[in-house]
């Protein structure tokens, strides 16, 4: 009998050791702490990487590495002829994650979808302000409260969205992080227990990884969702090691302490590329950086003046100096990876002589202007100050005196959108959903003047084109409209488009299946690591 129990104990121990030995861990050195774990109330990529992309799923998803949509929690959908009613058929048998803090008793159904959206749309929802200062910023920013008339459950597996007007980018919007689907059952329990803030601290969803624990500012732990509807991930344990300094991230990667890292220093990239244990993925980011003239301020209200100034700026030199070559000169307001990018458009040639002549012809003499430079490094513009200095030198050659102005970041954001802003401002944008509307209307539409439209530019021809493109879902037609809009943009030149920066993701050579996301989030579904 004793021999049997010893044998039994040995077997149990051996199998425990075996399963531990087979447990695959992937370590991601993230660049910062998530603000919280509710993807509806935040807008930062760092937060999305840690919440929506790991724990949650959405009705539709972006295809890996693309901005095209594929089915997610919804396996199919129909759109009414007038483009205002979207009916989604949900995938049956999708399970919510079972965690230590909550065990779901039912599969995903229409109630969860309705809840996830109504909480963001209805001011009287108990979740509208479940913690002080909660604001469903992304949903509001995408215009959802005005756009969506109702979200209704048709039956357990069917949800109907009725819009107030047709909106072509709507489907792409539903693939975004804020549109993640939460568990109504979990929400109801938290509400009943008086613990609603827990939704932001201990997330529960249907995504590829289940939240395990968060040590603030240190480590986030996830494990593979056993019941993930697309099949359990090959990685058993996913760990985010929060490493704020980019040089230290590179050191950790080289030391093998993490397997993937985001946002390397431009100066470290070459070193990482030549390391035989590592590989560096790169792709053009879905972003743009620009110098926005204040088109309400003379003499920048004249297109010829703006065009002339554009021709005086050596953009290639800026890309080399500021991005160390990790970017490409921008000629259009949308990046080349985006559909409807009009490649036929010719960029303003760098020609200081001609620029000077054009300025004289426009009656501009001894021009003095300000250029606003951001104080912080952003993915689309690593060093605005340096870029401004280069522009200052370039413009001096054509007789324009430039004063560089800067403010602290919060103040910069606030003051730069003022219609009375004195000077041209450097800023940029990273796309949210891969839809050209997200750049062209959001940044250059008439309604955005005094807001996101830093050029304060309202051009009827351009605005009509982008507004029309919003209303039809026909991609071919939308493409034509956006191409025309880009032609207008080039002619009127409210911006000097500077560059589209390249995004790099260095990782261990043992990692496979990691695909760079155009919108810049970091996804770990489909990732594997060789032992």
């Amino acid at each position: 009998m004793k021999k049997m129990s010893v044998l039994l104990a040995a077997t149990v121990l051996a199998s425990a050791m075996a399963s531990a030995a087979w447990s695959k861990t992937l370590v991601y050195c993230s660049e910062g702490s998530p603000e919280g774990f509710d993807p509806g109330i935040y807008t930062a990529g760092t937060t999305f990487d840690a919440s929506s992309r790991t724990v949650y799923s959405r009705l539709v998803e972006f295809q890996h590495g693309k901005t095209e949509i594929e089915p997610g929690l919804a396996e199919s959908w129909t759109v009414s002829d007038d483009g205002t009613v979207y009916t989604f058929k949900l995938r049956p048998g999708v399970k919510f994650q079972a965690t230590e803090f909550f065990t779901p008793s039912r599969d995903l159904n229409a109630d969860d979808v309705v809840f996830s959206f109504e909480r963001q749309l209805k001011a009287d929802s108990p979740w509208a302000k479940y913690v002080a200062g909660v604001s469903y910023e992304y949903a509001a920013g995408m215009g959802f409260p005005d756009l969506i008339k109702s979200v209704e459950k048709v039956d357990d597996l069917t949800v109907k969205f009725t819009l107030n007007h047709p909106e072509a980018p709507f489907l792409a919007d539903l693939a975004m992080d804020f549109a993640s689907v939460l568990s109504k059952e979990y929400a109801d329990k938290l509400q009943a227990d008086g613990k609603m803030e827990q939704m932001n601290q201990m997330p529960l969803g249907t995504g590829p990884y289940t939240f395990v624990a968060y040590q603030p500012d240190a480590v986030i732990r996830y494990k593979a969702n056993e019941t993930y509807f697309k099949g359990k991930e090959k990685i058993d344990d996913l760990v985010f090691a929060i490493t704020p300094d980019a040089s230290v991230r590179a050191q950790k990667l080289k030391a093998g302490e993490c397997h993937i890292m985001p946002y390397p220093n431009a100066a470290d990239i070459k070193d990482l590329q030549t390391d035989s244990n590592l590989k560096v993925l790169e792709q053009p980011g879905l972003n743009v950086s620009y110098l926005a003239y204040n088109t309400l301020q003379a003499p920048f209200d004249k297109a010829e003046v703006r065009k002339a100034l554009n021709m005086a700026i050596n953009k290639q030199a800026i890309v080399e100096a500021v991005f160390q070559g990790a970017g490409q000169v921008a000629k259009n307001p949308i990046p080349p990876t985006m559909w409807s990018y009009n490649d036929a458009i010719k960029d303003d040639a760098y020609n200081p002589t001609e620029a000077k002549a054009m300025l004289e012809k426009a009656g501009v003499k001894d021009l003095s202007m300000k250029i606003w430079a951001m104080p912080v490094s952003r993915p689309y513009m690593l060093n605005a100050r340096r870029a401004a200095e280069l522009m200052q030198a370039d413009l001096a050659k054509v007789g324009v005196k430039v004063d560089i102005v800067t403010h602290e970041w919060a103040e910069y954001l606030k003051l730069s959108k003022d219609k009375a802003r004195d000077g041209a401002a450097i800023l940029g944008w990273t796309g949210d959903n891969g839809d050209p509307d997200n750049f062209l209307d959001t940044l250059l539409g008439c309604e955005a003047v005094g807001g996101n439209n830093r050029a304060q530019w309202c051009n009827k021809e351009f605005d009509d084109l982008v507004k029309k493109a919003k209303k039809t879902a026909d991609v071919a037609e939308r493409t034509k409209l956006y191409e025309q809009a880009q032609v207008v943009f080039k002619k009127e030149a409210p911006w000097a488009t500077i560059d589209h920066s390249t995004e790099f993701v260095p990782m261990s050579a043992k990692v496979s299946g990691f695909v760079q996301d155009p919108v810049g989030v970091h996804r770990f579904d489909g990732v594997d690591i060789a032992e």
């Binding site: 370590v27 807008t43 200062g133 803030e197 230290v248 050191q251 602290e408 606030k414 807001g451």
Partner: protein, 334 residues
């Protein structure tokens, strides 16, 4: 002694009020607000911005906000972070032990190396030992922390593989924190290798954080010792034939320690305020980075609460330092 303590406690109240006033006003003097910053380049509609500011009570007159805040603080409620929505006290409680552990190790490192170095430098004044100790101290004091930290990482972590690059403990160790001190918790967890991992993770950050205090303490000890060694009573003790070790170690040192202890106390206060640079390089989840990030994000409640808590801790440290004077010098007994 009791009167001394009561007197010190009485000073606490006006000090706290002063700190809270400064914290409250300084963060609001900075342009921008937390709500706007959370949406970044995306411009928030003015109505929504106003709504959220109203929810947070930030549209009320400043003095109303202040009095409201003060009344909450008195009841022990420091509010919640505007960004993470977690209670400030809870965030502080999670992060402070990391800062405390690292600071204690750093100051211990600085004391254990600094005081003997300073003593020997003073005793061997003018010799090569003295010159090199003071030279090293000057270099340590002048070195940029970022550079020093990265240098150590490249050498000891990546080249020699003696220590991990960053973090408080190896990622394979996962246990619920009990005290918040990784050295203690790793022992309590019983997981093999956990304590060793926690200890080795502490080495580089301790050296980096302790370098400047080490330099300061060494120089301070040296000058204090030199001053004391020149005193009449030391000459008397020597001429009486007392052993040099007794002269230096007992008579001279005790009197020299007073300025050194003051200096140590001040260093501890600085360290406990959080070491933003060291914490950033070594991904050390302490209050330094927490506070600096809060200032950048205009997280008012975190800045206010954090400053109050840190001020409180520094006052306690100063109190301990003052009490220690009594131990060192009986004439200063309170």
């Amino acid at each position: 002694m009791l009167r001394f303590l009561i007197g010190r406690l009485a000073i606490l109240i006006p000090t706290f009020i002063g700190v809270s006033l400064i914290a409250f006003s300084f963060i609001r003097l900075l342009p921008g607000d937390p709500v706007m910053l959370m949406s970044g380049e995306r411009v928030m509609a003015p109505e929504r911005h106003a709504e959220v500011m109203h929810d947070l009570g930030l549209d009320r007159p400043v003095y109303v906000q202040y009095l409201d805040y003060l009344s909450n603080v008195v009841q022990g409620d420091l509010g919640a972070s505007i960004v993470t929505k977690r209670p400030v006290l809870q965030e502080f409680g999670t992060l402070f032990p990391a800062t405390l552990e690292l600071s204690l190790c750093a100051i211990l490192f600085a004391i254990v190396l600094g005081i003997p170095a300073g003593i020997f430098a003073a005793v061997k004044r003018g010799t090569w030992f003295d010159q090199s100790v003071m030279g090293v101290a000057l270099v340590g004091y002048s070195m940029p922390i970022f550079w020093w930290g990265l240098l150590l990482i490249v050498l000891f972590s990546n080249t020699l593989h003696w220590t991990p690059v960053s973090g408080r403990i190896g990622l394979m160790y996962f246990f619920k924190p009990v005290t918040g001190f990784m050295l203690i918790d790793s022992l309590l967890s019983g997981q093999p290798g956990a304590f060793k991992s926690a200890a080795s993770s502490l080495i580089l950050p301790t050296i980096v954080l302790g370098t400047i205090p080490l330099a300061v303490i060494a120089r301070q000890t040296r000058s204090a010792m030199l001053e004391v060694l020149g005193e009449d009573y030391v000459r008397t003790a020597r001429s009486k034939g007392l052993a040099p070790l007794r002269v230096v170690g007992l008579h001279a040192l005790r009197n020299a320690m007073i300025p050194v202890v003051t200096s140590i106390g001040l260093q501890v206060g600085v360290l406990l305020g959080g070491a933003i640079l060291t914490e950033t390089i070594f991904s050390w989840p302490g209050i330094g980075k927490w506070m600096v990030d809060a200032v950048f994000k205009r997280d008012y409640t975190v800045v206010q609460g954090g400053l109050l808590l840190i001020a409180g801790i520094i006052m306690v440290v100063n109190l301990i330092v003052d009490l220690m004077y009594g131990l060192i010098n009986p004439r200063i007994r309170h």
